[in-house]
Symmetry: C2
Subunit: 196 residues, 2 copies
């Protein structure tokens, strides 16, 4: 089941909003299971499905001009995931969203969320929160990429997301940091020898 207390923390849900209010949304959602390799949304899709990840790990990737898959980010437990391009701008998805682990989601179409929100004024304040959280994450990421060296970015990644280094292949981590897997290997070695 969904852990409501964790939700409170992640989405800064006020005490005024009780389990029942949130359950209106949860009950209207469809529960889905994805196996590793399954796609939630593919590039070019017009799907407006918004997923809440209850358990599991999703990678977001694009294909560059050399035909390589470049993982631009990941999403995991208690996070929302959707194609921002489609939901916000009515344009085809520009990324693939693929399960890395066995993943359980609750999802529904964006329009349906909007309708439920309208009928439940208590939920209204939370309409903007997802957008805001995404924006803050995005700015943080840009700063990291501009201000830090690859090695510093890796150290910060491990600090910020300690579990992810075990759940993600190095090649995905390398992509996310904007470096090559070979370079990541060397950085890891460098850090290991420095520590002594």
């Amino acid at each position: 089941m969904i852990d409501f207390e964790k939700l409170r923390k992640v989405y800064k849900i006020s005490k005024a909003l009780n389990v029942k209010d949130v359950m209106v949304l949860v009950n209207a959602a469809k529960k889905k299971q994805y196996e590793p390799g399954d796609f939630l949304i593919k590039e070019g899709s017009m799907s407006r499905e918004v997923f809440f990840i209850n358990k599991g790990l999703i990678r977001v990737f694009a294909i560059n001009d050399k035909g390589e898959e470049i993982t631009t980010g990941v999403r995991y437990e208690d996070q929302m995931i959707t194609s921002p391009n489609t939901v916000l701008f009515d344009q085809p998805a520009q990324y693939y969203f693929q399960a890395i682990e066995r993943t359980e989601t609750y999802s529904m179409d964006y329009e349906k969320i909007q309708n439920i929100m309208k009928e439940n004024p208590k939920l209204e304040p939370y309409r903007k929160i997802v957008l805001q959280v995404l924006l803050k994450q995005a700015y943080k990421r840009i700063d990291t990429l501009i201000l830090l060296t690859p090695e510093e970015r890796y150290i910060k990644f491990v600090e910020d997301y300690p579990e992810l280094q075990y759940r993600l292949h190095g090649k995905y981590i390398a992509n996310i940091l904007g470096i090559t897997p070979v370079s990541l290997s060397r950085i890891r070695k460098r850090i290991a020898t420095k520590k002594k």
Copy 2:
């Protein structure tokens, strides 16, 4: 005066919204002038002032752990600028916002915008647009930083913002691209010799 037709394009303003509706906002705004070097908002400030840049150029910068100013972005004509951290999360500004050119803005506090929006339902659909545009820009920027090499980023920068290379010092451009000014010089030279 403000060019309403340009506004339509930039903010995807629908035909249903006429000049009069928008003027409710513009008339409530304060017109301000900034000279090069002046600050709109400083790091640590709790200002919730939202600026519309009618004319001019603003740089956003942070100070890194070595005490250097690192320009993380710029804003210019027809763009909005504010401290997202303060407006969205009620936290002190984490950047300095400084005029590079003589700049003319229309501005008002975020709360006032909210009130005017409430009283003018026609404006309501545009509440989210600024946030959405910012988010899209941010994602585009992340992709650029992850997917492209420094040289490719510079070429793209010049393609995307042809005027900015003349309006901005190279050191600011270098910061924005996540490289050093020295490296930018070399990239410029490389491109110049390649072209022949």
